[in-house]
Symmetry: C2
Subunit: 503 residues, 2 copies
C-alpha cells in the first residue's frame, strides 16, 4: 500500500484547524481569568464546552485513523514532517483510547468533586470530599486503564503520558528516590548556613509600581510586548498563543519580592512559547514538548538565572529605584539582602510556599501517593494517614490538619493525576540545561550580572525552544546537555547555593 | 410524514453549538479590538477563519436540511418554538444559498479591496481602488443573485435581508423619499432657530475622569457590571454576548461631550442584548432581531432620551462634578449649553460627523447609490460623479474630494451592501418606540429629568428586548406602537426639537 500524498496534507489541514480551535480556547481561558465579569461564567462555560466537543470530534472523526495509516505507510523523509506525523498519531491515540461516555462522566465527577473540595478544604473536612474523590479516582483509573491498553504501559504511566510524553514512573521513581535520600542532608546544611532571617524592604509597594518593574524585567529577558501582554489574575499563569503570549501575575502591596520572581518565572514559560518554531506554528510538532520541559524553562529563569547573586546585583538598584521610593540600600534593596530573602529555606507544610530545597520532597510525596492510589495500593480512606506518614518521613513535619495536608492542592480533586512529577522533573531539567548553557557560553553568569539575557536566551532558543516537539524529551536533553536526565546537576546546584551560600 | 420529535431536538442542539461558537467568535473580536497586541493579528485571523469555517460546516451539513424538513412537517404549536424553527430555516437558507467558492472569493476580494481602500482614501485616489471595488461589487451581486433565487426577491433585497430580515427596498424607498422631501425644510428651520454656536466647556478632560463618568451613566441606565465591561477601542462598539456585554468607547481629552453620548449610545445596544429572553439564550429566536431594531435601541437612548433638556438638566451637575473640576455652570456645564451643543445642526460632508437632522440624507444617498450599483444601473466609474450629484441634491453641498465623498465609508469596500438603510430605519423606529413608551408611561420625561431610566427600560424590556426574534420587525413594531414603521413620528420629533428648540 502506498500513501497518497494527500493523506499527510489532509492531516495537516485538519490539525491546523485543531490548533486554531485550541488557540481560541486558550484565549477564552485567559479572558475568563483576567477580565471576564462574574456574570459571564455560564455563557463562557458553554462556549468552552462546545469548543472542546468540536475539537474532540475533529480529532476523532473516523477518517482520521485511515489518513494516519495511509500517511504512515510511506512515512515522510523530512524529520520535522515525520515527527509531526508521530505527534498527530500520539494525539489521536490519546483522544480515541477513552470512550466518550467515560470522558464525560469523568468531567462531571471532577467538576462536582472540585466544588465539594473548596468547601471541604475551608472546613478542614476530608470526610466531606471522600466519596467525590473516590468517584474521581475510580473514573481516572478507568481512563488510565483504557489508555494503557493502547499505549502499552501501566495505567499510571498512561495518565502521566498526557502531561509528559513517554515518561514512565519506573524511570522517575529511582531519580526521586535519589533526591529523597540526598535532600534532607542538603536541607540541614542550608538551615545551618543561612544565618538569621533578613529584614525585607519595607512597603507599601503600590501595584502600579510593581507592574512597571515587572514590565521592565520582562523586556530585559527579551519579552516582546508586540507579541504579548502582562495582566493580573488570582493565580498567575502563562497563557495565550506563541505569537500572543498572555502572562499574568498578582501584586501584594506589602511585599514586592513575590511578584518579581513570579513574573520572571512566567516569563520563562513565555520565552519558550515565543521561541517555538514559527514555520510549524499550527502543527503538533510546533508545539511545546511537555510539561516538565515547560516548567524547566520557567525554573531555569527563576531559579538558575535570577535567584543568583549575579542577577540580583544587577537588579537591586533597579528595584530600589522603581519600588524603593529612592530609599535604596538603606531600606534593604541591596543584592545581599535580596539574595538571602530569595534563597531562604524553611521546611513547611504547604507546597506552593516551599523553597527550592524542600519543594521536591512535597512533589515526591504526591508522586508516591498518587501512584499508589491509581494502582489501588492505597485507598482514599487511608490517604490522610499516608500523607501524615509521608510528611514525617520526608520533611520531618507533623501535619496538624488535612487542610494543610492532603486537602491543600486542587490537582487530584480535579482529576489531575500524573501532573505533580513534572514540577521536579522540570527543576532537574532546568539545572542540567543551565549548566550546559554556561559550559557552552561561559560569559553567561557575567552577562546576567549586567542584566544581559541575550546569550542565555539565544542558547535556549537554539537548543530547546526552536526544537518544538521534533525530539523526545530524553533526545532533546541528550542533544543539549550530552546526557539524559540525572539528579546530580540539580543536587550540586543546591549544595553550592545553599551549603556555601554562593551562586 | 410525521416529524420525529427528535428532529427539533437535534436542531436545537446543533444551533446551540452554533451560538456558542459565534459567541466565542464575538469574544475574540472584542479582544482583537481592545487588548490584543499587534503581533497577535495573524494568529487571531487563523482562529477566526477556522471558527467561521467550522460554524459554516455545522450549519450547512447535509443532515440539517433533512432535520428542518422533518421538523417543519409537524411544526411546533408553541409560538417560541415555531419562531425558533423559522429562524433556523432562515439561517440555513442564507448559509446554503451561496456556493462555498463564491463566499471564499468574496471574502478574499473584500480583504484586498479594504486594504487598497485605506491607501486610496488617504491619497484621495478613487482610481486606485476602482478595480478592487468593481470586483467586490461583481461578487457581491453574484451573492445577491444566489440568495435572491432562494428567498424569492431582488438581489439587493437579498443582501439587505442578511442585516434586516424580510426588509425590501421597494418598501424602504417611499419612506426615504418622504424623508428626503421633508428634511431640507426642517434643516432650514433648524439652522434659523439654533442661534450662535455655544462655547463648549473648556478642557482638558483626563480620560480616567471621563471613564468614571461613563460608568456612572451606564449604571444610571441600568447596565450591570457583573454582566459586562467598558473598555477602550479605536472604534466604539457593543460586543460580547448577552450575559457578558462588552462596550467600548474612546476619549478625546479636549472634548468630553463625544464620549458621553457615545457611551450612552452603546449602552442602548447593550441593554437590548442584556434584555434578550434568557430562556432562549443559545437559540436563534433568543437573539437580536435585526440591525435596524438594534440601532433603534441605541438611538432611542441617545437621541430620544438623552439629547433632551430633561435628561441634560439632570446630567449637567453630574458632568460638572465629575468632569468640570468643580467649576460648574461658570464653565459651561449647564443644561442649556449642553442641550445647544448636543443638538447643534450643520450640514457637512461626513456621515459619521452628521447631526440628527442631516444624518438620514447621508444614508438616503448611499441607499440609492448602492441599490443602483447592485442593479447594474450605476457603474463603479460613475460612482464619484453620482455621489457629487446626490450630495448637491440632498444636502446642497459641493464635494471637493472623493476622500470626503464616496471614499469616506468602509462599508462598500468591505462588501457590506444593504447595511446603510438600517441606520435611518433605526432612527425612525426609535422615535416611534419612544413615543409609544411615553404614551404608555407618561411619567417617562419627568423620570429622565431625575435620572431614572427604570420606567423607560422596563417598557423597552417588555415590548422589545424580551421579544427576541419571536416576531418579525413589522409585527413587533405594530404590537409595541399600534402601527408599522412610518416617517411621521420621526419628522415630528425633529420639527419639535430643532424647529422650536425644545425637547
Amino acid at each position: 500500500m502506498t500513501a497518497p500524498p494527500s493523506a499527510l496534507l489532509a492531516l495537516k489541514t485538519r490539525f491546523a484547524r485543531l490548533t486554531h480551535l485550541e488557540d481560541a480556547t486558550g484565549m477564552l481561558h485567559w479572558d475568563l481569568s483576567t477580565v471576564m465579569p462574574e456574570g459571564g461564567a455560564e455563557a463562557r462555560a458553554a462556549q468552552l464546552a462546545t469548543l472542546k466537543a468540536v475539537t474532540h470530534e475533529l480529532l476523532t472523526a473516523p477518517e482520521v485513523g485511515d489518513l494516519l495509516a495511509a500517511a504512515e505507510a510511506a512515512p515522510p523523509a523530512d524529520p520535522w514532517e515525520a515527527a509531526n506525523l508521530r505527534a498527530m498519531r500520539r494525539r489521536w491515540r490519546h483522544a480515541t483510547a477513552v470512550p466518550a461516555d467515560l470522558v464525560e462522566a469523568h468531567a462531571r465527577a471532577c467538576a462536582a468533586c472540585e466544588m465539594t473540595w473548596r468547601r471541604a478544604r475551608a472546613d478542614d473536612d476530608f470526610a466531606a470530599v471522600r466519596d467525590p474523590l473516590a468517584r474521581v479516582l475510580d473514573l481516572t483509573r478507568a481512563i488510565g486503564q483504557a489508555r494503557a491498553g493502547v499505549l502499552g504501559c501501566d495505567p499510571y504511566d498512561a495518565l502521566l503520558d498526557a502531561f509528559e510524553p513517554d515518561a514512565r514512573a519506573a524511570a522517575i521513581a529511582p531519580l526521586f528516590d535519589h533526591l529523597a535520600e540526598a535532600l534532607p542532608g542538603i536541607l540541614d546544611d542550608a538551615l545551618a548556613a543561612q544565618g538569621p532571617a533578613p529584614v525585607p524592604p519595607p512597603g507599601p509597594f503600590p501595584a502600579a509600581r510593581q507592574e512597571a518593574l515587572a514590565r521592565r524585567l520582562m523586556e530585559t529577558l527579551g519579552f516582546d510586548f508586540r507579541h504579548g501582554r502582562l495582566d493580573r489574575s488570582l493565580h498567575p499563569f502563562c497563557g495565550g498563543v506563541p505569537d500572543d503570549v498572555r502572562l499574568t501575575t498578582r501584586y501584594d502591596e506589602t511585599d514586592a519580592t513575590g511578584a518579581v520572581m513570579g513574573v520572571l518565572h512566567e516569563t520563562g514559560h513565555a520565552m519558550y512559547e515565543r521561541g517555538l518554531p514559527a514555520a510549524w506554528r499550527d502543527q503538533p510538532v510546533g508545539r511545546a514538548l511537555g510539561m516538565s520541559l515547560h516548567e524547566s524553562q520557567s525554573l531555569l529563569v527563576e531559579m538558575q538565572a535570577c535567584r543568583t547573586r549575579a542577577f540580583l546585583t544587577w537588579a537591586a538598584p533597579l528595584m530600589a529605584e522603581m519600588l524603593g521610593d529612592g530609599r535604596g540600600e538603606a531600606a534593604g534593596w541591596d543584592a545581599d539582602t535580596l539574595f538571602r530573602l530569595y534563597t531562604r529555606v524553611e521546611p513547611g507544610l504547604i507546597r506552593v510556599d516551599a523553597d527550592e530545597v524542600t519543594y521536591p520532597l512535597h512533589v515526591i510525596l504526591r508522586f508516591r501517593l498518587e501512584r499508589a492510589l491509581i494502582a489501588d495500593d492505597l485507598t482514599v480512606d487511608d490517604l490522610p494517614g499516608a500523607w501524615r506518614a509521608g510528611m514525617r518521613d520526608l520533611l520531618g513535619l507533623a501535619v496538624p490538619t488535612d487542610r494543610d495536608g492532603c486537602l491543600q492542592d486542587i490537582h487530584w480533586y480535579d482529576g489531575a493525576f500524573g501532573y505533580f512529577p513534572t514540577y521536579t522533573l522540570g527543576a532537574m531539567t532546568a539545572a542540567q540545561l543551565f549548566q550546559a548553557a554556561v559550559a557552552a557560553r561561559p560569559s553567561i553568569p557575567d552577562d546576567l550580572a549586567r542584566g544581559d539575557f541575550a546569550p542565555l536566551m539565544g542558547w535556549l532558543r537554539a537548543n530547546v525552544h526552536e526544537k518544538g516537539s521534533l525530539l523526545t524529551g530524553p533526545e532533546l536533553l541528550t542533544a543539549a546537555t550530552g546526557r539524559p536526565l540525572e539528579p546530580a546537576v540539580f543536587l550540586a546546584h543546591l549544595r553550592t547555593r545553599y551549603g556555601t551560600r554562593t551562586g
